[in-house]
Subunit: 282 residues, 2 copies
């Protein structure tokens, strides 16, 4: 069994730090795709085919699958299975959080042995009780988590930037995240299976948070449609070009609404990988 | 269409503030129930039958249904539908959180028109961007949310009790929660459709938070198996015995592991309603 941080780092090195966000909203599906769960499945498989050679991982956003009821969840698991056959790592974006045996249930649901999910995003508001079951299950099964540290939305500061002494809340969460994962380092990469979500819309913070969190792998959302550029995210990487993945959803999966959507997604992912490679590994 | 806070208050008055938490873990199911999704469905229907005359609402915990894959989510929706036929309100305990169109997707998934869910628990770490779509959808469809303010677990203080100036983080979240719901008051009850989750293991805080949050309805977990008593939760209620619901999961649904589990659940719910009625409405 390979450690999650080692698998991801290896995959980043072989492909790119591009993470493709699968946010399949029915009303945004391209021409020729049915507005049904089966259509969503076909669309996601098409995006996977188009980007599997370029991206290190996909990040299906659970909300869009849950919106389709249990049929949507069936598609979610089918899509994850399909991505694994293409050697993509799968990060389930669910921002789950709970405590005790309920947290265990979420951990087993997504990070259980043999599940086609490699990592799950989690929310830290409940403290370590809401994180430990995910870490334990992850360590056992070669899987990981990404803790929300600083998100990319406008109102993220309402809680995350509240001043506590010399620092702000999200900096404290950054330190907690580092501490939570300090015994979970991959033997090859040296990175932790406890990663951090750090928004790309705050490039200066990204650099500072990198210094607070040397071991967590960063999952950086907000690229492309949300306004982040390759320059903005560069500070999230280590000097050797590892330690971070950058997510783009809409700018890749909806690169074209026409019948050329697969080709457009492939090109968008390749362009993004190239843009990133110019700014990192320097 | 009735306002969520009015529906819930009316139901509390007619029955009790007891909220029955449905946490159907396969390994805890009573004798005679199959350890399958169909078994979980039968168990949940049995608990609903046993408690529908006593409880104001049920709170299915999504983690346990997600753990069973898409078949589990099918059961989740069936159970919610069934609860509605028994006049119970349904609070989906998912602690969901996201931003923008993804948050919209969660809001529509659970608080959409015609969905058999009346309210959803949500996590405030992302700020108002992660709350507004739920409020908007709720106001449109007579549904509500419960924002995690102070949770009942041991490590909840790691973030929630961090000092910010004269107060701590969860007090600030309490003020935000009140503000977020200030235009969402039920015309009959005067309560807000933006409720608050406040753990029962901190009775003094509960009283203080009541003063900070006059309008949100409190969802108080931690009763019974988690250690909270009727005395502990009394401070969460308004003087007229409304404004709060109290959740118990294990102490009701697993009151007996034998073939008398339905009768035991019925009795546990009735006992709890009686204990609460002694401490509140004074």
């Amino acid at each position: 069994m390979t450690h999650f941080a080692d698998s991801l780092t290896d995959r980043i090195t072989r492909t790119s730090p591009v993470c493709v966000g699968l946010d399949p909203a029915l009303d945004k599906l391209p021409e020729g795709i049915d507005h049904t769960p089966a259509g969503v499945a076909a669309f996601c498989r098409g995006i996977i085919d188009a980007t599997a050679d370029t991206a290190c991982c996909i990040k299906p956003q659970l909300a869009y699958f849950e919106l389709l009821g249990w049929e949507g969840m069936k598609v979610f698991w089918e899509v994850c299975d399909y991505a694994k056959t293409k050697n993509l790592l799968v990060i389930a974006d669910g921002k789950r959080n709970d405590i005790g045996s309920t947290c265990d249930a979420y951990a087993e649901a997504y990070l259980g042995k043999g599940k086609p999910v490699d990592a799950l995003t989690v929310n830290p508001y409940l403290g370590f009780d809401g994180i430990a079951p995910f870490i334990e299950r992850g360590e056992k099964n070669g899987k990981g988590i990404f803790v929300l540290v600083k998100t990319s939305n406008a109102s993220s500061g309402e809680l995350q930037d509240l001043p506590i002494g010399d620092e702000v809340v999200h900096e404290h969460v950054a330190e907690l995240t580092t501490a939570w994962g300090k015994t979970c380092l991959g033997p090859e990469s040296g990175f932790s299976s406890v990663g951090a979500v750090v928004g790309a819309t705050y490039p200066e913070e990204l650099k500072y948070l990198r210094s607070l969190m040397p071991h967590p792998i960063f999952l950086i959302p907000g690229y492309g449609a949300q306004g982040g550029t390759a320059k903005d995210v560069a500070g999230g990487f280590h000097a050797n070009g590892t330690g971070a993945i950058v997510n783009a959803s809409r700018s890749i999966i909806y690169a074209s609404k026409g019948r050329d959507w697969k080709e457009a997604a492939e090109k968008a992912a390749k362009d993004m990988a190239e843009e990133l490679s110019k700014e990192i590994r320097k």
